[in-house]
């Protein structure tokens, strides 16, 4: 018979180590899948995890993909730590990109140092506003934030669709579903000639530092921590629960909005339908893989970014669809949850035979 018991005390070191176990298991699982598909697993994994970052360009691509993931995951960690399940970061990213992109389009034929900060600010505010919708509905009308935030993703995606084919489409664009190119003043400065990595990475790093400070050194962070562990206690302590829900959603939305604006002013340079390969959803995995810890999230965003790159390389060299990236992301989450389960519970196999012999 199998019996499952809760562990009394989970060592902190092990708690931060299990993500590594999950990653190793994901790689092994990936190898098995490649083998079943008829590829040499070692070679396939090499294409997946090593080839993409074997040169400087690849490495810059890794940072480029990790930047939005890290930003969004940092924002989400505020929500998740305080028991608010915002899973609509993809929508907040899109809406931030729409608002930021709108401002960029206003200035499409102008130059000026002030334009980029305005665009970035507009993106953050856009994301913040979009996250406020589920937050307000939750606090004042008791709706479920999981459903509302998720459904709003499709609202913002369809809005973007409408804008790029309709009112905002490029007049000289032969009816392609895309806007004008932004002017150079609306673009993130590139860090190195010839590489796509841009100044947005500093926004992500700043968010990491700032979130660490807020979460561990401020009263707001303390309230978030307590509310996440026990809402009953938060109520008893007299924390302003409603305000806190609004604040964490705003932080989360602003981060997602920044990620969105970073994409369109960075590598993309205009608005079109495909501004994000589901960064907003994948960042949920990043946040948990990073244990909702700001520095853990940096590491997790690099790992998950690699699955994006690996999928692209594998598509080119092995002719397998790049959606295998999502398989890998799914496996990471699966193995992480599985190892967490074993971390928090122990499985005992009771020896029935021994007992029965006694009779």
């Amino acid at each position: 018979m199998i019996k499952i018991e809760k562990r009394n005390d989970v060592p902190m070191a092990l708690y931060f180590f299990t993500p590594f176990i999950a990653i190793i298991l994901t790689i092994l699982g990936g190898g098995i899948i490649f083998y079943i598909l008829g590829f040499n697993p070692i070679e396939a994994l090499k294409f997946y995890f090593i080839t993409p970052i074997s040169n400087l360009y690849g490495f810059s691509e890794l940072l480029l993909k990790a930047t939005p993931l890290c930003l969004i995951a940092i924002g989400l960690s505020f929500c998740f730590k305080s028991n608010n399940w915002n899973i609509g970061a993809e929508g907040q990213l899109t809406f931030g990109a729409i608002v930021g992109g709108g401002v960029a389009l206003l200035f499409y034929n102008q130059e000026g140092f002030y334009i980029l900060p305005l665009v970035i600010l507009a993106g953050a505010i856009g994301g913040m506003f979009f996250a406020l919708i589920p937050a307000i509905l939750k606090t004042y009308f008791n709706t479920n934030e999981i459903l509302v935030s998720l459904m709003l993703v499709y609202v913002s995606k369809l809005l973007l669709d409408y804008l790029v084919v309709g009112p905002w489409s490029n007049p000289e664009g032969f009816n392609f579903p895309e806007t004008r190119q932004f002017s150079d003043s609306s673009r993130m400065p590139l860090l190195f000639e010839g590489l796509r990595i841009h100044a947005g990475i500093f926004l992500a790093l700043a968010a990491v530092m700032l979130s660490w400070f807020i979460l561990y050194k401020t009263y707001l962070g303390f309230q978030i921590k307590v509310s996440g562990l026990s809402l009953k206690t938060a109520k008893y302590a007299g924390f302003k629960g409603k305000t806190m829900i609004l604040v964490v959603f705003m932080i989360s939305g602003a981060c997602a909005g920044l990620a969105g604006v970073g994409e369109i002013t960075g590598p993309i340079g205009q608005l079109h339908r495909m501004i994000s390969p589901d960064y907003g959803f994948t960042a949920i995995i990043v946040a948990f893989l990073g244990r909702l810890n700001p520095f853990g999230i940096i590491f997790a965003s690099l790992v998950v970014a690699l699955t994006y790159l690996g999928a692209e390389t594998a598509q080119i060299f092995l002719q397998i669809p790049k959606y295998t990236g999502q398989v890998f992301q799914g496996m990471i989450l699966f193995f992480l949850l599985a190892s967490d389960y074993l971390l928090f519970f122990k499985v005992k196999i009771l020896n029935l035979k021994k007992n029965e012999l006694r009779h």
Binding site: N8, F222, S230, T233, G238, K240, N355
Partner: protein, 499 residues
């Protein structure tokens, strides 16, 4: 047929704690056995082993010399061991009959017939077709007992059965238990209430720290001797407080407290009016589930009710949240110390920071002042004799008594004018109870007031200056505690009336 239950060398070890250490006991039908011990003495573990909920690491259980394999509650049922837990396992929205038919093996008609026989035989008056949520705690317990009786048990184990009962219901229970005993059912009665052991049981086994420390005939024991065996030390008796405050200022006054809830599991409160004088302890008695939860939350500010007027030190505070009320020098100690008053995963000093005054400067300009919080926490740990000085310890590693001391210390170190506590000694051992009672008396001696909401009548009579009873959300008239007897309280708690 006589039943003989023998427990032989049972051990159960949890990480960091030996719950049962080589326990051997023998029970024979025709007697009522008490298993007495403080919380954490290992009673519950032993009972769980007997009922198949957990398996022992070592040792065996014999029923009539047959070695029992108890690896699940089902095995216990098969072997005719019945168990009534302290917390009822009933579906509140289903009827009594539906609850009883869930795990029955026979058809409804014959089941109903058998239930009616049992009701008649033992003089239980329960309507089988009302939802369980309409029953009193005593009636619910009877439903649980009937469930056991339907399986014609050889052994009936009762785990702390009186903790939710009124005095009358307790008496009725004892009569039933004696009847069962006469019919040859072996009864094991788990409790930490000494008087019940003396009035009900024939033989008593005392457990302490996982071991059986004594087995004796109850006729040779007195309350004091049993208490000493239980705690392992001589107990200082607390003097009952006599200083009834007269003609003092009313420091706290509640008017028109009404609360209506859409949730059928919450109790509505109907027009509560009361006041507390300076230096006084107002006791609020009642069986749990009669509105105490809701009352506590309204008094603490977790629930804000419209139209209620709460005057504290001449200020209207009815609209303030708990944090704001603390600024006016109120303090709160809720019933649920494990998941409400403190967070087990947080360190001691973080739990201390939950009660945070402007003047305490724990969070200056929105930043955490860890140094200040830790200093403050150290002071609480030493002033309230919590048995650790490590403020970095997670509070889940504190025992119930030490956790309660920490919480009371946190609430009291700010010298509040009014402390509202709800079941402050629930589930604690005698040593901790004494300490907390002394602390509560000390507060009153310092001219500070307390409101004590409690389900423990003994505690209320010991500590309160005046007592009222809450029943189904209504408050009885407030009586000076010298005029109150346990019997009177019992009548009121059960919904009766006195002159």
């Amino acid at each position: 047929m006589a039943t003989d239950l023998r427990i032989s060398n049972i051990s159960k070890i949890y990480p960091g704690c030996i719950a049962n250490d080589n326990v051997s006991l023998q029970f024979k039908s025709g007697k009522i056995y008490a298993l007495l011990g403080e919380n954490g003495a290992g009673k519950s573990t032993l009972v769980k082993i007997l009922s198949g909920v957990i398996s022992p690491d070592n040792g065996e259980v014999f029923l009539n010399e047959k070695n029992l394999k108890l690896s699940s509650p089902l095995d216990a049922k098969k072997n005719k061991i019945g168990m009534v837990f302290q917390h009822f396992n009933l579906f509140e929205t289903l009827s009594v009959f539906e609850n009883l038919s869930i795990d029955a093996t026979e058809d409804n008609k014959s089941l109903r017939l058998r239930i009616n026989e049992i009701l008649k035989k033992y003089n239980f008056s329960i309507d089988l077709d009302v939802p369980v949520l309409n029953l009193s705690a005593g009636q619910k317990q009877k439903v649980e007992i009937i469930r056991c009786l339907l399986r014609s048990p050889k052994v009936l184990i009762m785990d702390e059965p009186t903790s939710v009962l009124t005095e009358q219901e307790t008496e009725e229970l004892f009569i039933s238990l004696k009847k069962f005993c006469d019919e040859g059912i072996l009864i094991i009665y788990i409790t930490h209430k000494l008087k019940e052991v003396l009035s009900l049981c024939d033989e008593v086994a005392v457990m302490r720290k996982g071991k059986v420390v004594s087995v004796s005939q109850t006729q040779n024991e007195r309350v004091e001797t049993l208490a000493n065996k239980m705690v392992g030390q001589k107990l200082a008796k607390i003097k009952k407080k006599i200083n009834i405050s007269k003609n003092k200022d009313e420091i706290f006054k509640v008017k028109h407290l009404n609360f209506y809830s859409d949730d059928p599991f919450e109790t509505n409160l109907v027009n509560l009016n009361f006041s507390v004088k300076k230096g006084e302890c107002l006791g609020i008695a009642g069986i749990s589930g009669n509105g105490q939860n809701e009352l506590f939350q309204i008094l603490s500010g977790e629930i804000i009710t419209p139209d209620t007027s709460i005057i504290f030190r001449n200020k209207e505070i009815a609209k303030l949240n708990p944090k704001q009320r603390r600024e006016y020098l109120m303090a709160f100690s809720p019933e649920d110390r494990i998941s409400q008053a403190a967070v087990p995963e947080l360190k001691i000093y973080e739990n201390v920071a939950l009660n945070n005054f402007k003047s305490s400067n724990f969070f200056e300009k929105g930043l955490v002042n860890e140094k200040k919080i830790k200093e403050h926490s150290k002071k609480i740990l030493s002033d309230f004799s919590v048995n650790t000085d490590n403020v970095e310890l997670k509070s889940q590693f504190l025992s119930g008594g030490n956790l309660q001391k920490l919480i009371l210390g946190r609430e009291l170190i700010t010298a509040p004018e009014l402390l509202i506590c709800y079941n402050p000694t629930w589930g604690l051992d005698v040593g901790a109870i004494n300490y907390i009672h002394e602390t509560l008396i000390k507060i009153n001696d310092q001219e500070k007031s307390t409101i004590l909401i409690s389900t423990d009548t003994e505690e209320l009579l010991k500590l309160s200056d005046r007592i009222a009873v809450i029943y189904k959300g209504k408050l009885s008239k407030i009586m000076p505690s010298v005029e109150v007897t346990p019997e009177k309280l019992g009548v009121l708690m059960g919904g009766g009336s006195i002159d």
